[in-house]
Symmetry: C2
Subunit: 148 residues, 2 copies
Amino acid sequence: MISQKAKYALRALVALARAHPRSATFIGDIAESQSIPKKFLEQILLDLKRHGLVVSKRGKAGGYALLRPADTISFGQVLRIVDGPIAPLPCLSKMAYRRCEDCRDEGACEVRRVFARVADATRDVLDRTTIADAVAERAPVRLRDAVG
Amino acid sequence: MISQKAKYALRALVALARAHPRSATFIGDIAESQSIPKKFLEQILLDLKRHGLVVSKRGKAGGYALLRPADTISFGQVLRIVDGPIAPLPCLSKMAYRRCEDCRDEGACEVRRVFARVADATRDVLDRTTIADAVAERAPVRLRDAVG
DNA sequence: ACTAACTCTACAAAGTCAGTATAGTTTTGG
DNA sequence: CCAAAACTATACTGACTTTGTAGAGTTAGT
C-alpha cells in the first residue's frame, strides 16, 4: 500500500500539470479541489520543492507550479521522495540498498529472487509512467461508444 | 516493503518444503536455521496453520509440516495472510476492496489507473510463483560456469 | 511423571502515519 | 507603511502497526 501522503502528492502534481503552466496555483486551491488537508499539503509540496519537482512563489500572489515538464516527472520519482524506496525488500532497492539484517547469503535467498521479479515489474511501470501520462490517459473509450 | 513477518513466513515455508514432507519439523529447528526469533515464529506458524497452509503435531515428537504440496502454495497467498492486501491502493484490492475515502470518482482517478497496472504486474508474479518454484529455482548457472 | 514440544493471550517498546499547531517570512495591494 | 495572503519551518500528538517477549496452559512420547 502506498501512503496517503503519496496519493496526495501525485494528485497535487496532476492538478499542477493540468493548471496553466505559466501561472502559479495556490496551495489552498489544490487542497480544496483535491480534498487534501491544506497544512498537510503544504508539507508535501515543500518536500517536492526541495527535491526540485516544483517551484513556489511567496507572497500574496504566490503559489506553486511544476518546475519541469510533466512528462519528465515519473511516478517512481514522486514515490521515492514521499514514501522512500519502492523495492519490496531493502536488499532490492537500487537507490537505497540495505542488506537484510538476518540474511546469510543474499545470492541464495529464495525470497529475494522472487521479489526481484516483483521489483522489476513495479519499476517498469512506475519509472516509465509520468504525470503527463496520467493526465493524458483517459478511461479507454471503446470504438462502439465513440461512434454510437 | 514487505514486513519482516512475511519474510519469516516465506522462509519458514521454504524450509518446510525442503524438509522431508512426511516428518514434522520443530519450530526450534526452523527458527535456528533461518535466524528467526522462536516465539515470533510460533505465532506466524500458528497463523499459517489457521489458514490451512501447514499442519502441526503436538507433544514431544511434534512439529510442523506443509499441509498442501509446495507447488500449490503461492507467494501471494502467504503475503495476503501475513501482510494483508497486496494491492497498492485499497480500491484496487480484489480480495479486500475498500473505497478510497477521499476519492470523488474512482473511474476518473489518474492515480488509480496507473497503480492498477502495478497491481496487475505484482499479482502476476506473486500469484504464479509458488513455494516449490522458490525451492527449485537456483541462481541461474551460466554454461561456462557449469562446464569450466 | 517428566519433559519437550505446540497453543494461546497479553503486553510492550519503538516506529510510522496522518495530520495539527504555532510561529515565522515574504510579497503585494492599498 | 502596513495588513493580509501566501509560503516556510519545526514541533508535537494521537492512533496504529510492527516486532517482538512473557508466561501460563495443553499434548504426547519415554
